[in-house]
């Protein structure tokens, strides 16, 4: 089983490397450098104005540490067919999971180290921690992360998944309480409590280790991969994993406005699938929401306009592969609907969604920078971008789609 994990890990890393090449393209690296520079500058300014010992500062540190602990989940690299093909080897699974645990721990340990390093000056100035206490804080983070990963391993062996309350208590409330003790000024006590948490989780998970819950195992790994792919999807085409649709009845009254005839068949399909497919719609809503908040807070006109355009471009690129969402459905190839009608319907769908984004971002830029001119430039540039996207990437996607789907 260890060998299987090693093989899986090699192909997983190869896959990640392939996608990371797309993510860290020249434009993005330049944008990222600017962004990190701006953040570092703002952070430096903030540190200069820290008075120390303020409750809000403790709150920020606590949220930063506990939030950071949630980054980097258990990566089991399990695939759906494993529940059939590897089931006979279930007795040997602990060695597989052990490797998965240490791989995940190495990654998330690095993340904890990075978060600790970034928070270091803030903690020193605000809480007045000395070198030893800072090291205790780092150790606490590493111990708690180990406990959290063990908590995830333990859940793989539960016949019935934990209730939401139990999961939140184990993964959020306990680490929150323990970290709070450190932030309140007792890092050593907190570290001891952290060790107790780790020991408790280990005892709990060993007590329950009977049979693997394959359904849970496959589901959690599939969700983890889905989250990874969502990030990569902003930059390139990624494989789509099946996501469970959500009914979202509240949207029915809006969807009823769509014309229900042959010429609008695809418009109905695109909108309904988009609304109920949380992978696509959640990402869109998140970008719109966060983008609007950021733009409302930005007073620098140039920065606001560039960020708005960048987000519009990224959403546009992200939405484009949705044109081929139904390509695998042979029924649509049987239906008496033409490729031209599909393309027209996708344009309507695409323009509606990106159009909403352009309007919201233009208004937010106007409000944030208090400049009508900035809002107008965002709007004009956004519309130009939309036009450019339709004429390039969308056209390319639709042509590809048409070649693979239709005889007309």
């Amino acid at each position: 089983m260890s060998k299987i994990f090693r093989q899986r890990l090699t192909s997983h890393i190869t896959e990640l490397t392939k996608y990371l090449k797309y993510v860290f393209n020249d434009f993005f690296v330049i944008a990222l450098l600017f962004f990190i520079g701006a953040l570092a500058f703002a952070y430096g300014n903030l540190l200069q104005h820290l008075s120390g010992g303020q409750p809000w500062e403790q709150g920020v540190i606590l949220l930063g540490l506990v939030g950071g602990l949630q980054l980097g989940n258990l990566a089991t690299l399990i695939q759906a067919p494993d529940q059939v093909f590897l089931a006979p080897q279930e007795f040997a699974f602990p060695s597989y999971l052990k490797r998965a645990y240490w791989y995940s721990y190495a990654l998330s340990g690095c993340i904890q180290l990075l978060i600790w390093f970034v928070l270091l000056p803030f903690v020193s100035l605000s809480l007045g921690f000395q070198s030893l206490q800072l090291k205790e804080l780092l150790l606490l983070m590493l111990v708690l992360k180990g406990g959290l990963l063990d908590f995830q391993v333990g859940q793989l062996y539960l016949a019935r998944p934990l209730t939401t309350i139990a999961r939140i208590s184990g993964a959020w409330l306990l680490p929150f309480g323990i970290t709070a003790v450190a932030v309140l000024g007792w890092p050593l006590v907190s570290l001891l409590l952290g060790c107790g948490y780790l020991a408790g989780v280990l005892y709990w998970s060993r007590e329950r280790s009977v049979a693997l819950n394959w359904k849970w195992l496959v589901r959690t790994e599939s969700r983890r991969m889905q989250r990874l792919y969502q990030i990569f999807a902003l930059f390139t085409d990624v494989p789509t994993l099946p996501a469970r649709p959500r009914r979202r009845r509240w949207a029915d009254s809006w969807l009823r406005w769509l014309q229900q005839d042959q010429a609008h068949l695809y418009l109905n399909l695109y909108f309904r699938s988009f609304v109920r497919n949380s992978t696509e719609s959640d990402l869109y809503v998140r970008v719109i929401f966060l983008g609007t908040i950021i733009l409302l807070c930005l007073s620098n006109q140039l920065m606001a306009i560039i960020i708005a355009w960048l987000l519009i471009y990224m959403t546009g690129v992200q939405l484009t592969p949705f044109a081929g969402y139904f390509r695998q459905n042979s029924l649509l190839q049987i239906y008496p609907v033409t490729g031209a009608e599909q393309a027209q319907n996708f344009h309507q769908f695409y323009v509606s969604l990106i159009g909403i984004e352009i309007i919201l971002f233009s208004l937010a830029t106007w409000w944030g920078t208090s400049s009508l001119w900035s809002g107008a430039v965002t709007l004009a540039g956004g519309l130009l971008l939309l036009f450019g996207l339709i004429k390039t990437v969308v056209r390319h996607q639709l042509n590809k789609n048409r070649r693979e789907t239709y005889a007309d």
Partner: protein, 245 residues
């Protein structure tokens, strides 16, 4: 008129899988496509429904070729695939809505027919379910209901009995018989030979992309008298001969 296939040769990339096939399915007729795995049944069906383009030969439905008029050709055709393909984000009700939109059906009449079909296949209380909540058999029933809600002139049915319960099989056969009586042409591929023998008017036996035999059971029994009297006996003997050749 029904379906007319003339000298059809086709396959994947440049390799022909089916070779020079000629057959027809007349209106009001149920014709069964029979063959071993890999014999070319699904490839034939994929050509008929327009998923594949023939290398040579022609396919017409009620006298219309796909290349002549895509919309009209497809408007006359309904298909039930072997593996149900449903939209994960659409409820059963919305699947029917989409079918009605696609085939430009009159809503009132189509929904009346849909409700009858839903009742017949015991799906009438599951209109707001997502496909993810359906069993394999139930998904197949959704495909059947969506196909038979249309006014198609040709029904192409690929291995319809897989995963269906005995009651649903009986209901489907009854439905096929009704539509046949109303003048629809039905092409069905199946491995369930006993059922095919009872219900089909003619048989097309395919082996290695060639049509080995086409005709009614009585003629087949006369021609292969020494192999047995049932379709299963005759077909098994032919298939074994084909394997040994």
């Amino acid at each position: 008129m029904g379906l007319q296939v003339n000298n059809l040769t086709g396959g994947y990339s440049s390799v022909p899988v089916i070779k020079d096939e000629t057959f027809d399915v007349q209106s009001g007729e149920l014709v069964s496509l029979i063959g071993l795995n890999g014999a070319g049944k699904s490839t034939t069906i994929n050509h008929v429904i327009g998923l594949m383009t023939p290398f040579s030969g022609s396919i017409t439905v009620d006298g219309i070729e796909l290349q002549q008029n895509v919309r009209q050709y497809k408007q006359q055709l309904a298909y039930i695939p072997e593996m149900p393909v449903l939209y994960p984000e659409l409820t059963l009700r919305e699947h029917l809505d989409v079918t009605m939109m696609a085939y430009q059906l009159d809503r009132t009449t189509a929904w009346k027919r849909a409700h009858e079909l839903l009742r017949r296949f015991r799906l009438d209380n599951k209109l707001d379910w997502f496909p993810a909540n359906f069993s394999k058999g139930m998904r197949q029933k959704v495909m059947i209901v969506c196909a038979f809600v249309t006014d198609a002139r040709l029904f192409v049915i690929d291995e319809p009995f897989t995963g269906l319960d005995p009651l649903a099989i009986d209901d489907l056969l009854e439905l096929i018989t009704e539509r046949k009586r109303q003048g629809a042409a039905i092409l069905m591929s199946t491995h369930v030979l006993d059922t095919a023998e009872k219900y089909c008017d003619r048989f097309i036996l395919i082996n290695d992309g060639h049509i080995n035999y086409e005709g009614p059971l009585a003629a087949m029994q006369k021609r292969y008298a020494d192999t047995g009297s049932t379709l299963t006996d005759i077909y098994l003997a032919m298939a074994r001969d084909g394997q040994h050749e």
